[in-house]
């Protein structure tokens, strides 16, 4: 179990892993995540389930090599086993028929948006997906997102893919054009989700975000993933990961995400370019 069946580079520093995990694949639903531990000394860290195949018994994870844990994952190849994969965790995304749904994926958040877009589309919604990244080299799954959505808008900060601009600009254009968006779902860097919330606030469009705080156990026992939503403390791993974006204290989330910046730099440097730390 937990064997990597397929490993593929999909973008700059971004790899796709198809992992043998029949029990998780059987139960996985859009919006849920797994907690991984790659090696004995490794951290426990979350990755959203980007896709799953119940019959084949596999889940698909997309990982951006940005810190020690994802860098160690990147050193694994087809045939290698991930030490521990636990899930599916978190509450599944609530999928309803609202009419038009806009799904916004930024950077590696595209992977998180993929199963949600598909689920909303399968529920009979018109799904407009907006995906964006810094540049073409960081974008991935245009084809998969096109398949999962009714309409696809591609954007990049530098204009090397799709239109030049941010995902929020594309979203604003849809709103300005009078598209009757009933719900927005967004996943990506915290700052991006904060901006999406800001974009939809004036028109009051219901906006759900999939939060990404630091997690340690992921099952509700440590409170490390706590966020403040509507003035109340919530645990992302058992109360989320989806929350009403207009209620989320993003500034607090952004601050808490920096708590271990120094330590993360230490482990990142130790593992740059080497297989062992």
């Amino acid at each position: 179990m937990n064997t990597i069946l397929t490993k593929k580079s999909v973008a700059d520093s971004t790899s796709l892993f198809v992992v043998e995990a029949p029990q998780i694949a059987r139960k996985a639903q859009a919006g849920q995540f797994v907690i991984l531990r790659v090696v004995q000394e490794g951290e426990r860290f979350p990755l959203t389930i980007a896709d799953f195949d119940r019959e084949a018994g596999t889940i698909t994870l997309v990982s951006l090599s940005i810190g020690a844990s994802t860098m160690v994952l990147e050193t694994l190849n087809e045939g290698d086993r991930i030490l521990d994969v636990a899930g599916p965790l978190g509450n599944p995304t609530r999928v309803e028929k609202v009419g038009v749904v806009a799904c916004v994926g930024g950077g590696v958040g595209i992977a998180a948006v993929h199963p949600v877009a598909r689920a909303f589309r399968d529920a009979g919604n018109c799904v407009i997906s907006i995906i964006g990244a810094k540049s073409k080299s960081k974008l991935f799954w245009e084809d998969k997102m096109a398949q999962a959505s009714t309409e696809l808008i591609v954007t990049s900060d530098d204009g090397s893919a799709g239109r030049q601009g941010f995902v929020t600009q594309r979203l604003q254009e849809l709103i300005d054009a009078g598209r009757k968006i009933g719900l927005v779902f967004a996943a990506g860097p915290a700052i991006m989700m904060k901006m999406v919330a800001k974009t939809t606030l004036p028109s009051g469009i219901k906006t759900i975000v999939s939060l990404n705080p630091v997690m340690i156990d992921g099952t509700g026992m440590c409170g490390g993933c706590r966020v403040v939503v509507g003035g109340q403390q919530k645990f992302t791993c058992v109360d989320g990961p989806d929350f009403d974006a207009h209620e989320v204290d993003f500034d607090l989330l952004l601050t808490r995400l920096t708590a271990y910046r120094n330590e993360e730099e230490v482990t990142r440097c130790r593992c740059k370019g080497t297989r062992e730390l």
Binding site: E43, A86, I216, G220, G223, R226, V228, Q233, F235
Partner: protein, 459 residues
């Protein structure tokens, strides 16, 4: 006798100045001579109140008698009749509230060091009969699922495996042991000992599956549909509570569960070899607990204070650990309650507290702390660890609708049987009682195992 019968033999310990810098076990254990000498203090009184003082009623006079005779192997056998985790309990039971509290010798002199003797014979057995060398048993009876590999689950699994049932233990984390592995620090309970206890239960025939979250990966109903004829839920009360005071969301403020999970389970004290980080500043305040305070000290804090709103007598911590903490240099800030955390640039930098005095007893029987008006004061603090309480993990409750829970989220279960409102499902330990001790969880496990056996034999 060379030593007066009134003085009990000290537990050899690492020197405080040395041990505050390492994570090795503090208590070193009696040697044979000391164990026999301490055992000889036991009066073998007619009444044996110690047995009733023990939550699992170990035949204490009998096991101590064997130590007097030098029959250590026989002694541990007697302990194991009632206690499936003796090496653990000998180390972590608050004996001063249990067997030793009612010891007859304790009326006139210091009570017999029953806990230290239990640890001695448990360790004697461990050293001479390593689990690795034991034969592997296979079982072929009815299938039983145990949810959680903490003290309650391990006890149920061991007892039922011994009776021949095919037991599978499902553990959500990647390592078994529950609070034994994530909550209690290495310097009190070496994780190698916990692993041996788990290995022993597996040798008895129980199967262990880690990283399986019952309630998510598989639900209780799915377990039963999968052929498990009985399910025991020992999922614990791990959800941490916070005080709800201003500033609690600042960086540098964390729950004791998070702090200890990083340190104990993820071995963050060994950063960066182990990748999980842990941050401890120079001035640490631990609200309501001892283990986190001693851990913070070992991680390099200059000043560590345990802030507790009641007095020393009300502290639920094990007496020996409070002693150890003070020897190591941890300060006790008693009758003090934090009301506000003050931050700068998103990090905590000071704590405002109120002084308290003790008033009338509350529902738990302990005297209520009452704030002293106008006693507010502020101290510079750069790390705050909240260890005030925990509550029930909601995952099983949320995914098992027919399971009756009380309004605080704990599972309702019969006190003598562990039976729940759902047919074929038992529960015990913290998920029923709320946060309590290892031995109480074990006791609940023993009762549930007996009832499960009764139930399965009658089917």
């Amino acid at each position: 006798m060379a030593k007066s019968i009134s003085a009990r033999h000290d537990m050899p310990r690492q020197e405080p100045g040395v041990r505050r810098h390492n994570f090795q076990e503090v208590a070193l254990g009696y040697d044979q001579e000391t164990a026999v000498a301490e055992a000889n203090r036991c009066l073998e009184c007619k009444n044996s109140p110690c047995v009733r003082g023990c939550p699992v009623e170990i035949d204490i006079p009998a096991f101590i008698r064997e130590i007097k005779k030098g029959n250590f192997a026989e002694s541990i056998k007697i302990v194991r009749e009632k206690n499936s985790l003796p090496a653990v309990c000998g180390r972590v039971c608050p004996q001063e509230d249990q067997c030793e509290k009612v010891c007859t010798l304790g009326k006139k002199a210091q009570p017999v060091a029953i806990g230290r003797l239990e640890r001695f014979v448990a360790d004697y057995e461990r050293e001479r009969r390593p689990v690795a060398g034991m034969p592997q048993h296979a079982t072929s009876g009815k299938k039983v699922a145990v949810v959680g590999s903490g003290p309650a689950g391990l006890t149920v699994a061991g007892d039922l495996a011994k009776l021949g049932y095919r037991v599978t233990i499902f553990e959500a984390l990647h390592k078994p042991g529950g609070v034994l592995v994530y909550g209690i620090p290495e310097f009190r309970l070496p994780k190698a000992i916990v692993q041996e206890e788990v290995d022993y239960i597996q040798k008895l025939g129980a199967e262990l599956r880690t990283s399986v979250i019952i309630g998510r990966t598989i639900t209780v109903d799915e377990l039963m549909a999968d052929g498990f004829e009985a399910v025991f839920i020992g999922s614990g009360a791990g959800l941490p509570k916070f005080k709800g005071i201003p500033g609690e969301q600042l960086n540098g403020v964390l729950s004791a569960n998070e702090f200890l999970t990083r340190s104990n389970l993820m071995k963050a004290y060994d950063f960066p070899t182990h990748h999980t980080p842990i941050r401890v500043g120079k001035r640490v305040a631990v609200v309501g607990a001892v283990d986190s305070a001693r851990t913070a000290l070992r991680l390099g804090a200059d000043d560590v204070a345990i802030v507790y709103r009641r007095s020393r007598d009300e502290m639920p911590a094990r007496a020996e650990e409070v002693e150890n903490a003070e020897e190591e240099g941890v300060r006790l800030d008693l009758l003090t309650d934090p009301i506000r955390l003050i931050g700068e640039n998103g990090w905590v930098k000071a704590m405002e507290c109120l002084r308290m005095e003790l008033g009338e007893p509350d529902a738990s029987g302990r005297r209520q702390p009452v704030p002293i008006k106008g006693s507010e004061f502020i101290t510079p603090i750069d790390t705050v660890i909240m260890a005030i309480a925990t509550s029930a993990n909601p995952l099983i409750r949320q995914t098992t609708p027919s399971l009756e829970c009380n309004k605080r989220g704990y599972i309702v279960a019969g006190e003598e049987t562990g039976k729940t409102s759902k047919d074929g499902v038992w529960a015990g330990g913290d998920i029923v009682t709320g946060s309590a001790t290892v031995i109480l969880a074990m006791g609940a496990g023993m009762k549930a195992a007996l009832d499960i056996d009764r139930y399965l034999r009658s089917k």
